[in-house]
């Protein structure tokens, strides 16, 4: 047997080993540890606080000078990254003792990265969550209950935040919208109904009403028929409407996907009728692109090219639409003639705090700052990303903004009146819903009637829904 004596060789071996080990765990171990020292020495910092008193703002804000180290993770493109980096820099300037490390992940990989970090017990202190994933995170005990912090905090004026936005982050384990708060809204995204004014002018038609309930499905079909134009080869060149929201149609007609108690309710006449209405826009009335047409060029590209008269949009579409060479505005979603009502979905993403954070107060402080700070909210809407979370700002300067769409009130109506949480918010998983949309193509292509489809689909969805929400 060889005797191992040479120290040099051993060192090299150990070095190799270390290189391999660090290769797999080269994460942020360091930053958290050195921050520990600053955690509980508020007595120390209190002595220095007079020099910083001015920056703290409100007098009652204890802990404004406490040291902390927060990891914040979000997703987004370059614009969003730049906005948040600016906001975080401003935050760190306001609170010089608080450090924030901001990580951006591409949207498509976000939840993969997040879940991996959680599994590895490296959950960021503050991060984005929304929809079904939010429900899942709350019920898995990953998120911190913010209710008590919210009540005692001087940082948040709850009366000035859209109730619909705040309620989105209540969850009691079974249904969203009830119980304690586990997040603060990053934004509210009303799914609105845009129309190309130039095409309406050309056809000599009045614009759709901005008031909910005045413009019905029948009105829309009649208008769309006049707005749909074929080219000389007989192929339809300009469509009356595209991307009509199935959610809007179903809800307006009094149907829904679930009853909120865990039952799938797609097999109702109201649901089937609404779905058939959406399918018939193409199949019967020929005023909307077929799935084949959509595959060739989607509704968005066609609308931007001025080839669609009516098309849905969210506030985040504004920057893209500001440059369009035609006039456009938003209107209320058409109402179902059966109920006289309309509806649409109101998207939202939230800032949530890890239940395991070392700095609960400061994590909450950062979330509140990003969610409700005046400057951050202003910057966000000026960039055309969202509608402000703050009601006074939304009803004030946001409405006055001199950029399209003119009738911004529609956004606010959706938030305060007929907007609803997206379907996935009723569940912890979207598998059943993905399956629904996949299978629904049989209706859009006319292979199956909506009534037959929902009848056959209900048991299948119920099974998947139950599996996902055990």
């Amino acid at each position: 047997m060889a005797t191992w004596k040479s120290g040099k060789v051993w060192m090299a071996a150990v070095l190799c080993f270390i290189i391999v080990l660090t290769g797999c765990s080269s994460n942020n171990g360091g930053s958290k540890e050195n921050s520990n020292s600053g955690k509980n020495n508020s007595a120390n910092t209190a002595e220095q606080s007079p020099s910083n008193a001015g920056t703290a703002g409100e007098g009652a804000d204890a802990g404004a000078d406490a040291k902390s180290n927060i990891e914040f993770m979000g997703w987004g493109g370059d614009t969003e990254k730049a906005v948040f980096q600016t906001l975080i820099d401003a935050y760190m300037k306001k609170y010089p003792n608080k450090k924030v490390k901001y990580t951006v992940v591409p949207p498509g990989e976000y939840y993969q990265k997040l879940d991996t970090l959680i599994a590895a017990k490296k959950t960021p202190d503050v991060f984005y969550a929304g929809g079904a994933n939010f429900n899942k995170l709350v019920s898995s005990g990953v998120l911190m209950n913010l209710q008590s912090l919210l009540e005692s905090s001087s940082l948040v004026d709850q009366n000035n935040v859209w109730p619909a936005a705040l309620d989105r982050y209540r969850y009691d384990g079974t249904a969203s919208g009830q119980g304690d708060i586990y997040g603060l809204p990053k934004d509210v995204g009303p799914w609105a109904f845009a129309y190309n004014k130039d095409l309406f002018d050309k056809a000599g038609l009045p614009y759709p009403s901005a008031k909910a309930g005045e413009y019905t499905w029948d009105d829309m079909i009649a208008d769309a028929k006049k707005l749909t134009v074929a080219n000389e080869r007989g192929k339809i060149d300009t469509f009356g409407v595209a991307g009509y929201s199935t959610e809007s149609a179903v809800w307006a007609n009094g149907g829904d996907w679930t009853d909120g108690k865990g039952n799938i309710t797609i097999d109702t006449p109201e649901f089937a009728q609404a779905m058939q209405f959406v399918a018939d826009l193409n199949l019967v009335h020929k005023v909307s692109p077929s799935p084949d047409d959509e595959k060739a060029q989607n509704g968005y590209a066609r609308f931007v090219a001025g080839k669609i008269a009516m098309f849905p949009m969210g506030p985040w579409d504004q920057p893209g639409f500001w440059d369009l060479p035609f006039n456009w505005d938003i209107a209320a979603w058409p109402a179902s003639p059966n109920t006289g009502k309309t509806a649409t979905w109101l998207g939202s993403l939230g800032f949530v705090v890890s239940a395991k954070t070392e700095f609960p107060d400061d994590a909450f402080r950062l979330a509140a700052y990003l969610s409700l700070d005046q400057d951050s909210q202003r910057q966000n809407y000026e960039l055309g990303q969202a509608v402000p979370n703050l009601m006074d700002m939304a009803k004030g300067e946001f409405l006055q903004m001199d950029k399209k769409p003119e009738t911004r009130q529609v956004f606010l109506d959706i938030i305060s009146d007929y907007g609803r949480p997206p379907i996935e918010n009723t569940s912890k998983n979207t598998k059943w819903l993905d399956t629904f949309w996949q299978d629904a193509s049989a209706v859009w292509t006319g292979k199956q009637s909506a009534a037959d489809f929902v009848k056959a689909e209900q048991p299948k969805l119920q099974k998947l829904f139950d599996e996902s929400n055990k």
Binding site: V20, D115, K295, A296
Partner: protein, 297 residues
């Protein structure tokens, strides 16, 4: 008896161990450990957030009753059709490229370019080429045959053929190089002897070239089947939701969805193991059968 190796020899052994350590550790940490973990996970239910739970054979029961599992398996098997097609095309190309022409290496390079092109970029390119209304392929069909081409990526019946065509374009270059090497390894004496005996070109191909290329055929078939069973990237780009009526989803795509969209890690592991075992069995059978048709020198 204690035997001590000393001097130069001892030093060499130690250094060799040091050099071998990183790859061995790499395999243990990134290869073997995940493999064993996923085997354990396939009998558990784990969503990454809450502690895992042992569920026995539930995952496998669920799998064998899930219609999407069968659909994705069928789609994957359908894509195997691309292998014989690819072999025929690349063999023809290889024979064409095996001549001594001026500038032949340029042609060889051109055919090899798709192999080294990133699959994402290639998929996006094909997405446009196969566009129903505006794509080059349908434009060509319209110009030449005067008829509207199929909705390649939108029609459930055409999605898989589209993938096969893309796979052909991307894969023949690599296979061609293998065949080229095989062709150049065939001694010219066989052909000379055959010519003396009056064998036609076809007979030479049929009885000399084809059999002597059999080790290459074997390699291409084995690797092709394994590769097809693992195909994922094209589908991920071109059929993000599984394609119309789930017609574009492969088995690995299905695993990916379960693991990284719905976070059913346990279930995804069990499907991955079934896939692994399936590939193993198929490869084993091929090796058995190969004794009957593969000529080894």
């Amino acid at each position: 008896m204690k035997k001590t190796i000393t001097g130069y020899r001892r030093k060499e052994i130690i250094w060799s161990l040091i050099f071998v350590t990183p790859p061995v550790l790499g395999f243990l940490i990134f290869g073997l450990a995940p493999l064993l973990t996923s085997f354990g996970l396939s009998f558990m239910s784990w969503d990454m957030l809450t502690p895992s739970e042992v569920v026995g054979f539930d995952n496998f029961n669920y799998m064998f009753n899930d219609e999407k599992f069968y659909k994705s398996l069928y789609n994957t098997v359908f894509l195997l059709l691309g292998i014989p097609l690819g072999m025929i095309v690349s063999m023809i190309l290889a024979i064409m490229m095996n001549r001594k022409l001026a500038g032949i290496s340029i042609f060889r390079t051109i055919y090899y370019i798709p192999v080294i092109s990133p699959i994402i970029a290639v998929s996006l390119l094909w997405q446009w080429m196969l566009n129903y209304d505006y794509g080059l392929v349908n434009e060509f069909i319209w110009k030449v045959f005067g008829t509207q081409g199929p909705n390649w990526l939108g029609d459930p019946n055409w999605v898989k053929p589209s993938f096969i065509i893309m796979g052909l374009w991307g894969g023949v270059g690599g296979t061609m190089v293998l065949y080229l090497a095989g062709l150049q390894g065939i001694s010219s004496t066989y052909y000379e002897a055959a010519e003396v005996d009056g064998a036609s070109r076809w007979h030479q191909f049929r009885h000399i070239t084809l059999p002597l290329l059999s080790p290459i055929h074997f390699y291409v078939v084995v690797m092709g089947i394994i590769g097809t069973f693992q195909s994922f990237s094209q589908m991920y780009i071109l059929a993000a939701d599984g394609g119309p009526e789930y017609s574009g989803a492969t088995i690995v795509y299905y695993i990916f969805q379960e693991a990284f969209k719905y976070f059913n890690m346990g279930y995804a592991s069990s499907v991955a193991w079934v896939l692994g075992i399936l590939i193993f069995i198929i490869t084993l059978v091929q090796f058995r059968l190969s004794k009957r048709w593969v000529y080894q020198d």
